[in-house]
Symmetry: C2
Subunit: 357 residues, 2 copies
DNA sequence: AAGCTTCATTAACACGCGTTAATTGATTCT
DNA sequence: AGAATCAATTAACGCGTGTTAATGAAGCTT
């Protein structure tokens, strides 16, 4: 094990003190180092290929220069999350330019409080971004009380922690309303996840409100829960089709789930949108290339990540930003998976509806 | 800013020395602490909610207890990588159980050497996993020379660094051969990325060899380069279709690219596999639900991640494992996107082929 | 009772850096 | 010329922990 190069070595070679080296490397405007001295130090550092030790620096400065992205899902579901790459991409963008590192952590259910505290109190990280925590996350109160810099991607009702999110309910409302405007009256819903995830329950709420606002029946038999991946969407749709319920459109809580839903529809010998229209949610990059092109609610994933990150940095500096809860806009992207309900189908549905009135 | 709880505080409350506290928390078998003392310390720590400071620990022990996942792609492409979640899921699995943190870093082209060295020399991390570096990565030699613990996911010809990968060439050969066995003779290839990424060039090589081994013509006009995302696959396929070249099957370098390819085929009014058969690569979880179900080469992404991680941990312990280059098996998963070439098409192709012989 | 061994604990130093207050040297002011 | 100002640098302390060598305490042998 060869000896490590320390700031002491650099100082010696440059003929200055260790303090000066430190000043140069943190280029603090408050302290004045002569340009030529600065130059000498820089050169010595380069010659020795000196890299300031991160741990020592963190220890002395009490700043880890790192933030954490914390996920509360099983690795199994993480692996199925097509949203994640966009999030990470956005975070890396911001973090990189500020010379901060990004830590990724997965917390086991039941371990939230411990994990959150050990990460921040141990100063592994200066702040954290919580990716879609669940309703019942017990660690959130602890974070709130201790005033730990923290931003939630998503929302948790009852928590006052800063967050960045879209208006899931309104966006779902818009998506379902699109189907209604196309003439659909019997619309099914497959959630994106269990309802303990707030995004899932909010989107379901938007679905319900859209139907109610349009004066349509709310048939609980047309609702199924999926579980993040397309396999669960596929299963949910199969179950729904097997149930013999009557519907001409589906609102899926995520594009990944929608993909499974579409596969089940195809497999049943039905066509999209001829027999069944479908709207997804997220508008992941692949949605446009699904078959047929998936109408979806565009969620600015990259922007959510960037804004979360920026907000977190403000909090870490101790600044209390004016807006501690940020809502980002969504938009409905209409593609080929939705169309006006066909006359024939309307008719068929009309007949069926007799059973329900 | 409230005072931090240190091991000193715990020692005081427990009525022991700081050293003893340290022994308890690292439960080192070498040192014997009486069970009752141990108990006292644990309780005191709990009462004060003590969390050992990570930086101080890293500084003193010279171990960061962290590894890094380093990516050499632009955030833009990272966002399009449906493979990434599986990789991260696998890594998290392994690091979690060993109490190690996972750092994610993106390195700018040209900054490789600097980034690699600053991350490891600064002891931000103890070791690193390089995700699909490029051929010409100049930082690899530095890593090799300095003996920094490091595992490559993928392969870089000319580098002796340990790696975990699949046999891309053989797998591609298998995929293309599947098409050949189905009777296809004019097979196009759309790579998964630029050829400076070794996986792309190796898969292309496998494609070429399969054709040659079968005694088929190698038409360079049937090869296009895509660039990670489905958009690039779509564009490449459009370009290929516009060129008027004749082919009855496509080998796509990744499933994500394949999705774009399929979209272009559908848009051209052709059917899959009726008019064109297609094979993908990676077998991401969604591939089964694409329309039609995508025949693909299954890559054990999760296992690649886990093995890389384990290998890295061995290297970090200074152990030199017997196998420093691990190849994992692949398998062709046959779905609905491939079928025997139709008689009519064979005929048509036969006619066309006259032009080429 | 003195010496030896084993077990449990501790004092003291090291890790590499940030930061404050103090020091030096040069310059300007009275 | 001496005092006062300012720019540039440094000595010295602290951050919270790991770890080694040393210290006690207790049991055993002779």
């Amino acid at each position: 094990m060869e000896k490590r190069v320390t700031s002491h070595d650099v100082a010696e070679l440059a003929g200055v003190s260790r303090t000066t080296v430190s000043f140069v490397f943190n280029d603090d405007k408050q302290y004045f180092v002569r340009p030529e001295t600065r130059q000498k130090v820089r050169e010595a550092a380069r010659k020795l290929s000196y890299y300031p030790n991160a741990s020592a620096r963190a220890l002395a400065s009490k700043q880890a220069k790192a933030i954490g992205l914390i996920m509360t899902r099983d690795p199994h579901y993480i692996a199925a999350d097509n949203f994640l790459p966009q999030i990470i991409g956005g975070l890396l963008d911001v973090v990189k330019e500020r010379q901060i590192s990004l830590l990724i952590e997965w917390v086991e259910p039941g371990e939230q409080t411990h994990t959150y505290l050990s990460l921040t109190q141990a100063k592994h990280i200066d702040g954290m971004i919580l990716l879609t925590p669940r309703f019942d996350d017990p660690g959130l109160k602890a974070l709130e009380q201790l005033g730990i810099p923290c931003v939630i991607m998503g929302q948790v009702p009852g928590s006052n922690l800063p967050f960045v999110d879209i208006d899931n309910c309104a966006a779902a409302h818009m998506a379902v309303n699109h189907l209604i405007e196309l003439g659909h009256t019997r619309i099914a819903c497959i959630t994106n996840a269990q309802l303990s995830y707030s995004s899932a329950s909010q989107r379901l709420l938007g679905y319900r409100q859209a139907l109610v606002d349009a004066g349509l029946d709310l048939d609980e038999n047309l609702i199924r829960e999926a579980d993040f991946d397309s396999v669960s969407g596929y299963a949910a749709m199969q179950n729904l089709l097997d149930s013999g319920s009557n519907f001409s459109a589906v609102f899926a809580g995520s594009d990944t789930v929608a993909l499974g839903v579409m596969a089940a529809i195809h497999e049943a010998g039905l066509t999209i949108p001829g027999d069944i229209s479908i709207v997804g949610f997220d508008d992941i990059p692949e949605a446009a290339h699904y078959y047929p092109g998936l109408t979806s609610v565009h969620v600015p994933a990259n922007e959510i990540a960037r804004q979360s990150c920026r907000l977190l940095m403000h909090l870490m500096k101790g600044e209390a930003p004016e807006d501690t809860s940020i809502f980002l806009p969504t938009a409905l992207i209409s593609r080929q998976s939705t169309c006006e309900i066909e006359r024939s189908q309307k008719h068929r549905q009309g007949e069926k509806l007799v059973h329900f009135t």
